[in-house]
Amino acid sequence: MFTMNLEGLEMIAVLVVVVLFVKVLEQFGLLEAGYDDSVEDELELSAVRHRPEGLEQLEAQTRFSRKELQILYRGFKNECPSGVVNEDTFKDIYAQFFPQGDASTYAHFLFNAFDTDHNGSVSFEDFVMGLSILLRGTVQEKLIWAFNLYDINKDGYITKEEMLDIMKAIYDMMGKCTYPVLKEETPRQHVEVFFQKMDKNKDGVVTIDEFIDCCQNDENIMRSMHLFENVL
């Protein structure tokens, strides 16, 4: 007869029977299993599909010709059919150019520099505006853009920590196999050199005026600013 004090094996047997019972109920649909998955599916459907502004507007806002915009858009749309680049895709694309190292950190900073409205995605307008400054802008504009890139928290000052982050990100792109071998202090030393050059009043931060002034006085930098003008 069935006694009330259940021993070990009997308990397991009872457990198994209960589990089977639950499974049967699920089959009948009386118990909903996996409820959470359905909500997420709906979100995926309304994926972001972004269409850029018209060609004339973009022509007016940027310094590219119509043909150049066409070429740019074709490349952009090919890689990102949905019309916007999110950070992961951006990192992927950028990483393909630097296979030896890890370009993800620098790509993150770059993404933030392009994403001017900070909505987490770079649309074609953002992309083309950024490129317009970089390729067709005045030296002033390019320097301002570079400053924005280095100023991670966009507070108008470049601190040593921010610069160190940027520097480490740039050195990460080199990867391990370099000559001479990358040492731990190399980024830090490089930051020190940079600050010595740029920080005129030695207050530990670089403001935008200090930055622009210093760069305009440096021949190398001025020359390299004109380097990529024929890219497109």
Partner: protein, 622 residues
């Protein structure tokens, strides 16, 4: 780097401005863009279907045909487009590769057609995208298997040699019993004796009634011991003879001895001999009984006679991993459930589950859903776990079985296909033969017309009229015929068709069999030529049978020394002719191309050298 990403290179370069203020050394000079790439549209006309794409799209892959200057070879000036005379449906996929960077394999296309197109456009198939790679590899493997089957069959069936050694002949007879009636008879006889032997093994254990002076029933084997012994002896003798013959005939004896069938043969006949050697010793009688069990292995000899058995065996061998997995999972489950059942049933009294190994039996019987009922759980817990055991048994066994079944089905269909192809071989060969004969006849006609046209030309030149040629042959054909004619002129021999050739053979062999004419043949320079020319209007040709077969010709050339004397040449012909002409294994391809020996009187010793040289030429060309 993926193709699409190349479009982002300008962006990456522009973003490099971000490094400039930080750089400690000056930057290198950028490369000069000599050609400001005007991104133009390229029109690709593939068999009438026009595809258009940007030039830069194509140039993403510069090591393919479309991406390199190789496409200039296909440029059609009149229409200012690139014309390719290929399949437009497959081209679509190739162009998509340039666009998206991923090569897809369309499932409905034939794998060899697809491979050809890829090879033409210079694209290596290894870059097929992951989505289609499995399918592509599967189809490729199937195709390779099919080609290999074809080849093997061609090789095994094409070789219909005549001059086999006895050993090779014997081996062929054993492997393909259909080749000669003797082999077929032997095949059936051995099959019959296998059946007899197996049945005798079975019947001799049947109880056969009682002996008059005994009360117990005896088996037939004991009652008619002598008869069964004689039968057994006869069977074993036949098997032994067969095994020895196979051993002698085998091309590689070591390999033969290691093969499965020979092991089965040995195992089938050894018990008898061991039984003969051993006496009725009590100590070894146990082993003797074991040996009798091995006699049943004779039934495996049937696998030589049945293709189905072989397929089954092959399937099991190829499914070894699935079978192993099945075995392993069953063992795991058996141990688990046996343990559980043992402890579950431990409480109940007078239980059959005395130990875990004893519970193994219950578990196996339950999991395979046999359910003998000799061991049944009595406690409720035991019954619960027993039912779970039987349910899981069904699942565990049902899962690997479809894999084995699909393997069997694939191998079976392959063998069916091989059978069908074998049946189609005859029609295929006949078709090939007919095509060859048509070709040869067309060539003969061309030559006749040529001679005709020559004479007409001369006549018309004299008459001063233009010649109207009945141009019935297409230019390709006429050029091909002209080529054959050139070859004839080069080698100083002529082509003949099959019937004429065989007729010549018959004639010569008849002549030789007559015997008395041979000397007159060798002595008169016109001998062979004239006897043949009696049959034909034009100056032809009696080709020596030595060139029928590649093997034959190689054998012939090796044996035949280059001789310059006509008499010896004729003598050799005499020797060889009867052997070859009797055989009708003339493959059509050889006949049409064999340059016959012209043994006309006009030629002197130089012809004989030409003959032997042409023989050599022929062999090398073949």
């Amino acid at each position: 780097m993926a193709a699409g990403v190349a479009a982002w290179l300008p962006f990456a370069r522009a973003a490099a401005i971000g490094w400039m203020p930080v750089a400690s050394t000056p930057m290198p000079i950028p490369p000069q863009d000599k050609r400001k790439a005007q991104d133009g549209l390229i029109i690709l006309n593939v068999s009438g279907t026009k595809f258009q794409t940007w030039r830069t799209t194509l140039e993403r892959y510069p090591d393919t045909l479309l991406g390199s200057t190789e496409r200039d070879f296909f440029f059609h000036e009149e229409t200012n487009e690139y014309f390719f005379d290929r399949d437009p449906d497959i081209f679509r996929h190739i162009l998509n590769f340039y666009r998206t960077g991923k090569l897809h394999y369309p499932r409905q296309e034939c794998i060899s057609a697809y491979d050809e197109e890829l090879a033409f456009f210079g694209i290596i198939p290894e870059i097929i995208g992951d989505c289609c790679y499995e399918e592509y590899k599967d189809r490729r493997r199937e195709n390779a298997e099919r080609l290999q089957d074809d080849e093997e069959m061609d090789m095994s069936n094409d070789v219909t040699p005549v001059n086999l050694t006895f050993r090779e002949y014997l081996w062929r007879a054993f492997e393909n019993p259909h080749t000669s009636t003797l082999a077929l008879v032997f095949y059936y006889v051995t099959g019959f004796f296998i059946a007899i032997s197996v049945m005798a093994n079975v019947v001799e254990t049947v109880p056969c009634g009682t002996l008059p002076n005994r009360s117990k029933e005896v088996s037939c084997g004991d009652r008619y011991a002598l008869a069964f012994f004689c039968l057994d002896t006869a069977c074993v003798m036949i098997f032994t003879v067969e095994y020895l013959l196979r051993l002698i005939a085998a091309p590689s004896r070591c390999k033969f001895m290691k093969s499965v069938m020979s092991v089965i043969d040995v195992v089938a006949i050894m018990p008898y001999y061991i039984g003969l050697v051993m006496t009725d010793n009590d100590q070894v009688s146990g082993a003797f009984v074991t040996l009798r069990v091995f006699r049943v292995f004779r039934i495996f000899k049937f696998s030589r006679h049945s293709a189905g058995l072989r397929i089954l065996g092959y399937t099991l061998k190829s499914c070894a991993s699935e079978l192993g997995f099945l075995l392993f999972s069953l063992t795991m489950a058996i141990i688990i459930f046996a343990t559980v059942m043992f402890y579950a049933e431990k409480g109940s009294s007078a239980t059959k589950f005395t130990s875990i190994p004893a519970a193994f039996w219950y578990t196996i019987v339950t999991m395979t859903t046999l359910g003998y009922g000799d061991m049944v759980p009595k406690t409720i817990v035991g019954k619960v776990f027993g039912s779970i055991c039987s349910l899981s048994g069904v699942l565990v066994i049902a899962l690997p079985v479809p894999v084995i079944v699909s393997n069997f089905s694939r191998i079976y269909h392959q063998s069916q296909r091989a059978e069908k192809r074998r049946a189609q071989r005859k029609t295929r060969l006949a078709r090939i033969r007919a095509a060859k004969i048509r070709g040869t006849n067309a060539y003969m006609r061309y030559k006749q017309n040529g001679l005709l046209i020559d004479s007409l030309e001369e006549a018309s030149k004299e008459a001063g009229q233009a010649l109207v040629v009945k141009a019935a042959t297409p230019p390709f054909e006429s050029q091909h015929h002209h080529l054959l004619h050139c070859l004839e002129k080069t080698t100083n021999h002529e082509f003949v068709d099959e019937q004429t050739f065989q007729a010549n053979c018959m004639e010569v062999s008849v002549v030789n069999k007559a015997g008395s004419r041979s000397s007159s043949l060798s002595s008169s320079p016109h001998g062979l030529g004239s006897c043949c020319s009696r049959r034909h209007k034009k100056k032809s040709s009696f080709s020596p049978p030595s060139t029928n077969n590649q093997e034959l010709s190689t054998i012939q050339i090796r044996e035949r020394p280059v001789s310059n004397s006509r008499a010896s040449l004729n003598a050799k012909l005499d020797e060889t002719v009867p052997l070859k002409c009797d055989e009708s294994y003339i493959t059509p391809s050889m006949v049409s191309l064999s340059a016959p020996v012209v043994t006309s009187a006009d030629e002197d010793a130089s012809t004989t050298t030409a003959y032997s040289q042409s023989n050599i030429v022929r062999v090398s060309a073949l």
